[in-house]
Amino acid sequence: MTGENTITDDIQNNIEKYKAGMQIIFEGARAETGQTPKEIIWTKNKAKLYHYEPSIEKRFPVPILLVYALINRPYVLDLIPGNSLVEHLVNNGFDVFMLDWGIPGDEDSNLTFENYVLDYLPRAVKKVLRTSKAEEITLLGYCMGGTMTAMYAALFPGKPLRNLILLTAPIDFSQKNTGLYGLWTSEKFFNPDHMVEAFRNIPGELIDTGNRMAKPVTNYVGSYVTMWDRILQGKSMDTWLAMNKWVNDGIPFPGAAFRQWIREFYQQNKLVKGEIKLRGQRVDLSKISCSVLNIAGKKDHICTLPQAEATMNLISSDDKEFFVLDAGHVGLLTGSEAKKTLWPKVSNWLELHSN
């Protein structure tokens, strides 16, 4: 009788697990993300500036402003409790802010990098300084957010910018460095004007498909093999669910900015040549003189190692460090490895540069 019960329980248990897996496949991953307590201190159009509530007394006078990309959502920086870079920084006594660009609508299809770098970022920096009652600031840009903060740092060198942290920030877009993206976006095969004319803003799903196609087997199959593996072995699904939610949470890319991103960055590689001009102001990366921590992932296929490394020869900072992790574009930011490598690296470097 006991044996029969055990078999029945096993079957029931497996059915439950199967149901859980199928529910994720059909309904999508659900997870409570971005839970570190915060308040919105400024908004501009769809953009929001968050100030994270301190969990301990502020230990460092220089606040940190996290700047995210225009692709996907910024909560990957504050994924879930226990797996959040934001939470780690807050718990270490830093005053942390984050700029969320929001979800653009069709009315934002004319937004360009001029708007983001010359209008939004300087305003956000001012708000941070005012809220934190600080005179200097650390900017931490992730992915395209890193490219944007580098441009800001080149256009507004000196005070109040004290430190710049670039996390997998693509700077050199020469075709030999950009891998598949370089081929897919080459002038020969890709005309961003047609897409912008058709869609106004480039749909998030399209950008997402492009990113997944760079590693199709891993992204379309491997991810779900991991899911079933975790479900069947009864392991925690929290991080997997949060990551899967984030991966599928693509947002539209404002048309005009997309056109610039493809044409001026990918196709013409203007940034390293010093040919990017924002409202007539030349973005000269050699103007960057603040302390810089540049972090890249060996397995990153979205911002390859040489794309990020190029920054080191272009800036004129005396205090600069290039730190390489054996991880991919997102893997370096979250998960158990990130806790042991990236997070302590960032907080230790900041401790030395924030007094």
């Binding site: 501009k44 159009n45 609508g105 069709d106 009315e107 934002d108 305003r123 001012k126 708000k127 005012r130 598949l180 081929l183 897919w184 080459s186 095969f189 890709f190 005309n191 047609h194 897409m195 004319e197 058709a198 869609f199 196609m213 590693k215 199709p216 087997v217 891993t218 199959v221 491997g222 093999v225 079933w228 593996d229 069947l232």
Partner: protein, 210 residues
């Protein structure tokens, strides 16, 4: 009865898989023969399937549990698949085809969007473009409010300074003093003018007397 049940009994998973494998690969090979395989995808697929079958069959046991079997198959094949797919999507020919598909999709999307816009406009209904125009006006208004907010922030931060009541009173007092001085100057000037007139008058009398 026992014989019948044996005949209908659960199939050996390996036999089942072998049957599935042969049916699938056979159909794919035939399709490639008949319809051509310009990118060589089917040929590569079949090659990888064959390699993976060999890898799995080389293992000591084949699990009956379908998930474990699939996982084994994935682990045995994912690296090869990644390489094959990577090679295919990294070829100019593939990108050229994908680009053409994307171009025709965007053209179709654009035509449909314009047609829909025209249709709703003719029905005198607001379209997405109309909403965009309204939203743009609101954003422009918000932009103005934000500038005012920034100006207030600057004032509060001391970048711009507002006149205080004290400073205005001080200015008033100083202005009063200047006014008094001007009055004095004016009266002096008047006296000077009067003296000048008297001098002129005296000169005139003197000339007459001569």
């Amino acid at each position: 009865m026992a014989e019948e049940s044996k005949a209908r009994g659960p199939m050996d998973p390996r036999d089942f898989w072998r049957q599935w494998y042969e049916a699938t690969t056979g159909a794919l090979a035939k399709a490639a023969e008949l319809e051509g395989d310009p990118l060589g995808i089917t040929a590569q697929w079949l090659k990888v399937m064959e390699e993976n079958r060999a890898k799995i069959l080389a293992g000591a046991t084949t699990p009956a549990d379908p998930y474990t079997f699939f996982k084994q198959w994935y682990e045995a094949s994912s690296e090869t698949w990644s390489k094959v797919v990577g090679d295919i999507i990294g070829e100019e020919k593939f990108v050229e085809n994908a680009s053409q598909i994307m171009e025709s999709y965007t053209s179709h999307y654009m035509v449909t969007r314009r047609a829909n816009e025209d249709y709703f406009r003719n029905l005198q209904l607001p379209t997405r473009s109309d909403l965009v125009r309204v939203a743009e006006i609101i954003i422009a208004l918000e932009e103005k409010v934000d500038r005012i907010d920034e100006a207030f922030d600057d004032i509060k931060d001391g970048s711009s300074q507002l006149a205080t009541r004290d400073s205005l009173t001080d200015l008033e007092v100083r202005l009063g003093r200047v006014e008094k001085k001007l009055d004095t100057l004016s009266s002096v000037l008047e006296k000077l003018e009067a003296i000048e007139k008297l001098v002129k008058h005296a000169d005139h009398i003197e000339k007459k007397a001569q």
